[in-house]
Symmetry: D2
Subunit: 366 residues, 4 copies
Amino acid sequence: MERKEGMTMLYFNNDYAEGCHERVLQALMDSNLVQTPGYGQDEYCARAAGKIKELCQCENAQVHFLVGGTQTNLTVIAAALRPHQGVLCAVTGHIQGHETGAVEATGHKVLTLPSRDGKITPGQVSDAVNAHRRDPSFEHTVQPKMVYISNPTELGTLYSLGELEELSRVCRELGLYLFLDGARLGYGLSARGNDVTLADLARLCHVFYIGGTKVGALFGEAVVITDPELAVDFRYHIKQHGGMLAKGRLLGVQFDALMTDGLYFSIAARANRLADQLRAVFCELGYPFLVPGVTNQLFPILPDKVLDQLAEGYVFCEQERIDESHRAVRFCTSWATTQEAVDALCADLRRIGPIGIKFTTRLLDF
Amino acid sequence: MERKEGMTMLYFNNDYAEGCHERVLQALMDSNLVQTPGYGQDEYCARAAGKIKELCQCENAQVHFLVGGTQTNLTVIAAALRPHQGVLCAVTGHIQGHETGAVEATGHKVLTLPSRDGKITPGQVSDAVNAHRRDPSFEHTVQPKMVYISNPTELGTLYSLGELEELSRVCRELGLYLFLDGARLGYGLSARGNDVTLADLARLCHVFYIGGTKVGALFGEAVVITDPELAVDFRYHIKQHGGMLAKGRLLGVQFDALMTDGLYFSIAARANRLADQLRAVFCELGYPFLVPGVTNQLFPILPDKVLDQLAEGYVFCEQERIDESHRAVRFCTSWATTQEAVDALCADLRRIGPIGIKFTTRLLDF
Amino acid sequence: MERKEGMTMLYFNNDYAEGCHERVLQALMDSNLVQTPGYGQDEYCARAAGKIKELCQCENAQVHFLVGGTQTNLTVIAAALRPHQGVLCAVTGHIQGHETGAVEATGHKVLTLPSRDGKITPGQVSDAVNAHRRDPSFEHTVQPKMVYISNPTELGTLYSLGELEELSRVCRELGLYLFLDGARLGYGLSARGNDVTLADLARLCHVFYIGGTKVGALFGEAVVITDPELAVDFRYHIKQHGGMLAKGRLLGVQFDALMTDGLYFSIAARANRLADQLRAVFCELGYPFLVPGVTNQLFPILPDKVLDQLAEGYVFCEQERIDESHRAVRFCTSWATTQEAVDALCADLRRIGPIGIKFTTRLLDF
Amino acid sequence: MERKEGMTMLYFNNDYAEGCHERVLQALMDSNLVQTPGYGQDEYCARAAGKIKELCQCENAQVHFLVGGTQTNLTVIAAALRPHQGVLCAVTGHIQGHETGAVEATGHKVLTLPSRDGKITPGQVSDAVNAHRRDPSFEHTVQPKMVYISNPTELGTLYSLGELEELSRVCRELGLYLFLDGARLGYGLSARGNDVTLADLARLCHVFYIGGTKVGALFGEAVVITDPELAVDFRYHIKQHGGMLAKGRLLGVQFDALMTDGLYFSIAARANRLADQLRAVFCELGYPFLVPGVTNQLFPILPDKVLDQLAEGYVFCEQERIDESHRAVRFCTSWATTQEAVDALCADLRRIGPIGIKFTTRLLDF
């Protein structure tokens, strides 16, 4: 490894390793001594909400700002469901496996659907709901009432507009809420080939959120509620779950900055381009991917020996063991990733090179 | 009102109307592009925790950083109690009346004790526990297992060291946890006449927290767990309740700054002095207080007419109607309050003067 | 004490010391080997529900059978409320102090109202709701959404028809559910001076239940839901809380028997008459009551010395210490109480006599 | 169908279609007018508990009586786990799919393990626990702390003594509780080839229960807690979840009868023998089973046409569609099944005969 001598490690393990984008920071500095009402009832929040509603082309939406993703997921789900209802979710969904049972802690079952690419299909949803409704003992099982999807998914894949329209249609026909977790939404909406807009999401989802934590903010998720029923009394739920920041304006200030002059989208697009550079090198070296991707997350499958060498200079994330000598790992870029860091990683990858990998059968499946 | 012409309102309604102290802000700026691990496992958090443990003279304590007070209260209480156990609390306690049932939402009953000054006594605790234990149907009632106190209380009053020692002794004898909510702890520890230190709290409480949100930080509460049993697996609970900030280092950076060179205490002391100036003017004008106080919160009782005039230039908080023509209200100072704002308020108070108040009987009780 | 020689103790401590009325037992024996579907979907339940709906003059009501009172209370409340909502209740209410926090365990706060006689007034309800709605920080407090009353109350007192009509009116005006716990409803509806009928309850309450456990059944409470919104999916909630008896027909069989030929009311009326006999003797001997009563529960205040003597032959229930030498206790009659037992107790009371009681001031208040 | 003319349907769909065994009923009749303390603190419960502890050869066990299975499962699990902990369970487990999310409603995630025969292996448990512990983000996932198994399983299969010993060993090594749901335990312990005793269960499980509802009682499950930590305050949990029967002696009376002269085991053994007679006829006619079995539940796979004919005279339970023309169904015998009913079913099965079934590939897998 060229770069490890005396250098600090380079973090590619996630998209929240730094603070916030300079324009967000500047906005926080500029507003620091302004006095405002607390708990999100200030002018900054109102202005940021206004910009979001405009981008969503949905004046009647409610916009609420919460601090983090798990908090947002549990608050939205607990507010929406009655006690006997559950939420359908890909087995890879964040609420299923990475939130310490936060949804269950509010009393609701996560009803998992199998998925290899992080997405679920309208057919899976209607099959699950119909199976429940046709079961003569239906009252002995949890009633599906919400569909949770992430876009981009936890595996970096994207729903197309057509897929979302179909999911939305099925949800409405069956009387289910469609909830989209947009923790990394910026990277998705800015990705090559994406055909979905905020206005589409506002039209197709009952509730979704625009993630700030991973896209340029210090923290913060902007929840957009388009379904009037879900909007009733929502602030009580935020408070009850400890998500109502006393200095709520911090969220307004940040989202106001992000939604000004397209900052949110431009910084995400840049991160996607850097990810593409990495993607190209992995391809060039013949490494397969766990799933194909177009956003800021990559899941290449590499030999343990390569990963051991990389680990001396780079921090990445373990995803899944593939066979006795290969693992899928995750590399992320972000609004903060530098071209220099990407170049260094690309150079080191090429230096190590494709060391005579003998792929096992399972790998060939991908 | 002298100052209302063309001027913005002055906020005395709470201690979270601005952003953060300049040294905290500087620390956030300085660290903004440093890459760190997420979720509080970074060097900044470690350093801040180290400083806190040193101040607490308690190397074995665990220190965790959470975002806000309600979140901290619900997380600590839910982590500590088994399902049939409840928490004793003054009827004025924040968890009882100002957190939208957050504790109940985790399944636990708040067992209220009467209080006029926001404090509870060791005798109230032992009476409640003994009544439970002597009840032949004790299994039909919630088992008291924790005592929740705030210091300063929600009414700005303070526990003395002697009172805390006695409460702590009773809790230990009865096998209850003592949990101190220190959302405004800085103002308390810096108050005239206070004889309590962080080291005392670490010695006397099983768990307590040092509030940052209201004492100079953008947000953040530092939980100090001294009881080894309560410390087990605590990070799971933080995550489950959505309190684990992805960029956890933001909390470490802020508390590191606050705990450097006594910043936390000096800014609180200054706010207390400003509050004393206000207190003196209320006294001078003959207005009584709902409760006596020495910290940054004042609860004067004023005629509606005076309050109506004040409301033209100042924002304050409604506390309680006293009789048909008087209300108790709350004025707060904070680390951000300016001498100019206090001077303006004092001048306006004197200008309005004591307009022939005829106090009702109830007022004379105070 | 005359009767203690070689005799077993006589239980007056509650109304569930025996099994069930002989006609209920006979119905269980008669149906024992009949095969039916499980989980309450059998002919017996349908027939019992039909009789109850007829008595309630409410064909559109849903009738569900649950096993016990705590289970019924927690199931109804959890099914009705959204997470941020709470239930208003007299401080003496069963859900507040005698169910081990069962309501809180489902996530909801019990919002207590002061009461000396076990009842709450329409004014208390509207005051509490209006205080919540007028609070500028209303979202920081639990939203009252249901009123829970017991009739007869835990102190044996009764609501008049006029009082219930007024409570119902206030609830409807404010958008609250009125829920009546009728664990001892039979004794109330059969009491001297009662002017309330099942049809009144069906008209005035959104949901109420007819208690079987304490009025002739082995166990069982018949929930009558008249509000269509509360009725939706109610069986899921019963199942989720473990209240759906596999052999649900046991509940149907028992309520069918109780609702046949007025058995439920006649056995309650008889118990009330026996209680009146006891009441007359306490009066005759000059003992005051904690609260006046007309149902099967009596709360006389007696000197400790008298109680000590009584305790040698009778089991009764401690209610409250009145002063250093007097306690209020509870005596209950039931469908199973024999005339002989009442006669024995009356005789023993007279034998002990009014031993020079010097009542303290507090007693004279009652 | 021979028997359908004018006859009522014969229920083979479950083992709770009737009331209770005559000796249980006699005991309820005999004790009906005896006065006892409430809530399970009576002599009948004490005596039944004593007999169970003797059979378990475990004097230090706690025995508690609850009304039903779902209630028992949720109470035991909620009492045992801290909020961030979950329970490992076969995907077929009753708590996973047939209790309307009762466990999740208490805040805990059910962590499913794949299973074809209703059982889980020690290796599955240790793999799941080790995967959790090795996960660098372990605090972001639910901590496995309990293993839930059913014996017999929901598919009628049985654990051998060796399998239970190994599961128990793994649980102890890993610090997990082993909880055995014995809703149909009698049928299991009385089955051909079973080598497990109550004493074994008391030795190997931390908590288990002896099901009464499906084995001769009107209702009731006897929980045996052998782990002292799990036993602490258990009655509070029963009360909180609405499982504490006011007339608790009804449970004691029934279990006392069942545990006298081996009644519990002899009636289960008889039901197993009747099931064997049915099993033999299905085999003789060439119908395969979804899983092999030795207890009172059978899961034959039959052509839709045969099932349509059977449905005219018999009630059975749908289990699973196998292919476009075959379904697996469940037939149950019980303590109440008559020889005549079994003979009628066998005769009708033979009369219909094996109508040229052409099994699909999937069927041959079994």
